[in-house]
């Protein structure tokens, strides 16, 4: 078709501008710590600062815990729903959507309200606070994890594969470990990357639980040291995009593999 209306292209172009103009501006700004010069000085300052290293490491570890908890919570549940309770899928989807729209601010208040009082009093210890932070992050990660695992399970016809394995003599443990998990590897990794990217930059929950995380550090830096904070923004974005890029790559590989089974 040679007749292509202009309108959609204009929209795509505007979208591009909208996304990349700020980015280019930010990048440019971050390179101008020294007057009239393009320099990586701001990046050096950021990367070598102890607070950067500490908060990043802290958020990194929290992200790993979040991924582990979310995976263990989501995978067997979604598998079971697919296999035996397909009519409950809308409800499970509803629950995971909740956390997408419940504002982080409300989530954190709810958490603090309950878990900072006896009998739990989690906020009185470091570990308790970290635990609460991870729980909050798990809520935020649920939609992404759920969607990944759900899409992964839909691609492989869980029910028939499970029945095929059963008729060959396999019990539940074998089915989960040898048949289901290996085929979800890509979906789980992709969910993990999204979760990681999200946790690394999260601001609200970490601030209100007063944890030494990377998000609050970034915000703080932004108010005091503009060039370094901009450099940090760029670093953080690059990290995020690397995560998503990985995810897309994995996704494409999986599609190729799965297309053939149809």
């Amino acid at each position: 078709m040679k007749r292509i209306p202009l309108f959609p292209w204009i929209l795509i172009f505007l979208g591009f501008l909208y996304f990349f103009l700020p980015l280019i501006g930010t990048l440019d700004f971050s390179l101008r710590l020294v007057k009239d010069q393009i320099t990586l000085e701001a990046y050096k300052n950021v990367v070598t600062s102890a607070r950067f290293q500490n908060t990043f490491t802290y958020s990194f570890i929290m992200a790993l815990w979040t991924i582990v908890a979310a995976t263990l919570l989501v995978t067997p549940t979604v598998y079971w729903v697919h296999l035996k309770l397909p009519h409950l899928r809308p409800i499970v989807e509803f629950i995971t959507l909740l956390t997408y729209v419940v504002p982080a601010i409300i989530l954190v208040f709810g958490l603090i309200r309950i878990y900072s009082r006896p009998p739990l009093s989690l906020l009185e210890s470091e570990i308790g606070s970290d635990f609460l932070l991870v729980m909050g992050y798990v809520s935020l990660a649920l939609p992404a994890m759920y969607r990944s695992v759900d899409a992964g399970l839909r691609a492989i016809d869980v029910r028939t594969l499970t029945e095929a394995a059963q008729s060959l003599g396999a019990g539940w443990r074998t089915i989960l470990l040898d048949v289901i998990f290996p085929n979800l590897r890509v979906a789980l990794l992709s969910g993990a990357f999204v979760t990681f990217a999200m946790v690394i930059g999260e601001f609200t929950i970490a601030t209100f639980l007063a944890r030494p995380a990377f998000g609050p550090y970034m915000a703080n830096l932004g108010q005091t040291r503009p060039y370094e904070s901009t450099a940090l923004t760029i670093i953080s974005l690059a990290l995020t995009w690397a995560c998503i890029g990985m995810m897309q790559l994995l996704g494409r590989g999986a599609q190729g593999q799965i297309a053939g089974t149809r």
Partner: protein, 357 residues
């Protein structure tokens, strides 16, 4: 005692009966098909043999053991699904060896057995391929091999050919039958395709509305259907209103022309209105040789189907079909021609009520 015995099986989902009063005995080495329209309960019955569904009432006995309440993984049945259901993360050899690995067979025994089954499906060189590298037909052959590898007591196939193209369907069908006969494995096959059921099976179980309509050899099912449903579902059938002229010697009239049936018309009065059934392929043009019955008809329509030419004819106000093999050097009548058609006495089946043949 038969090898596979299904006794008084019924299955109710919620309020809906899916299978009712199902009784069947399958001998060792027999190939039995369940044939019927979708929703007739054929797949549910198969799934009860496999153990994926528990019957509401009744028992499943395999080789003398009651397996009614055993979980599927303890039944040693081989199952082939419409959707192939190969494990995408394993290659062909691993797929085929999966059941043996679970049974903790030694590695070299598994390897030997996998090679044996690969030879049976003629895919010796495909052991290292992954499912997504195979065509649909190849995947289904691997699924068959995987089911055979565990040397199951019963092989169950659930519409295994429905997802494949017409040409591959026919060739794989022949292959399945050949392998089954070679190994002598007791097999239950579910299909909605009458040609598949007829061409593959030792016996066919025709099902409708959660019940068995008829059990018999393909020849019996096609030529001597016991119910109206079987007659209509299997093959094409002409049903023509007729009047009994002389019950004693089987004379009937259609469009005031006289026909004779070989069937005993005991209990039917002269002058009574009945229905007669004739298969299209039993009718031929009288110019090619006369049989006992000759009817004057008008040719209404001619459809060329390839090997068969289907002719719609009219006798009085009754339209019906006849099939004749295509022969490019034989001149067929043309639409509008008035010609004679002929068929044997045996081809005419008389039905008294709509529900009885």
């Amino acid at each position: 005692m038969a090898f596979l015995e299904l006794t008084n099986i019924s299955k109710v989902f919620g309020q809906t009966p899916a299978v009712q009063d199902f009784n069947l005995q399958v001998e060792k080495g027999e190939f039995v098909s369940f044939l019927g329209p979708s929703g007739c309960g054929k797949t549910t019955t198969l799934r009860m043999i496999a153990g994926f569904e528990l019957p509401t009432t009744g028992t499943v006995v395999v080789n003398g053991n009651d397996v009614t309440n055993k979980p599927p993984q303890k039944r040693n049945t081989g199952m082939v699904f419409q959707a192939y259901a190969l494990f995408p993360n394993m290659n062909v050899a691993e797929n085929i060896g999966f059941g043996l690995k679970i049974a903790r067979k030694p590695k070299d025994e598994i390897k030997k057995r996998v090679e044996e089954v690969l030879a049976i499906i003629k895919m010796e060189s495909f052991g290292n391929r992954y499912p997504y590298q195979l065509s649909g037909g190849q995947q289904q052959r691997v699924a068959l091999a995987r089911a055979l590898a565990i040397q199951p007591q019963v092989l169950l196939l659930d519409e295994p050919l429905s997802a494949l193209d017409a040409k591959i369907r026919v060739s794989l069908r022949q292959e399945i039958r050949a392998i089954q006969q070679k190994l002598g494995i007791t097999t239950v096959y579910v299909t909605h395709d009458q040609e598949e059921a007829l061409s593959l099976s030792d016996r066919v179980v025709v099902m409708n509305n959660s019940k068995i309509e008829q059990v018999g050899t393909p020849f019996e099912i096609y030529n001597f259907p016991k119910t109206e449903f079987t007659a209509q579902f299997v093959g094409t059938l002409n049903s023509i209103p007729a009047t009994v002229r002389h019950a004693a010697n089987g004379e009937l009239t259609v469009d005031s022309q006289t026909l004779v049936t070989a069937q005993k018309l005991a209990g039917i009065a002269d002058g009574e209105a009945v229905m007669i059934s004739i298969r299209p392929e039993r009718i031929s043009f009288a110019s090619e040789g006369r049989k006992p019955n000759v009817l004057n008809i008008k040719v209404e329509n001619i459809t060329f189907l390839g090997s068969i030419v289907r002719v719609q004819v009219r006798a009085g106000e009754h339209l019906f079909l006849m099939d004749t093999f295509n022969n490019p050097f034989l001149k067929l009548p043309e639409v509008g021609d008035k010609v004679e058609i002929t068929f044997s006495k045996e081809a005419v089946l008389v039905l008294r009520h709509a529900s009885q043949i």
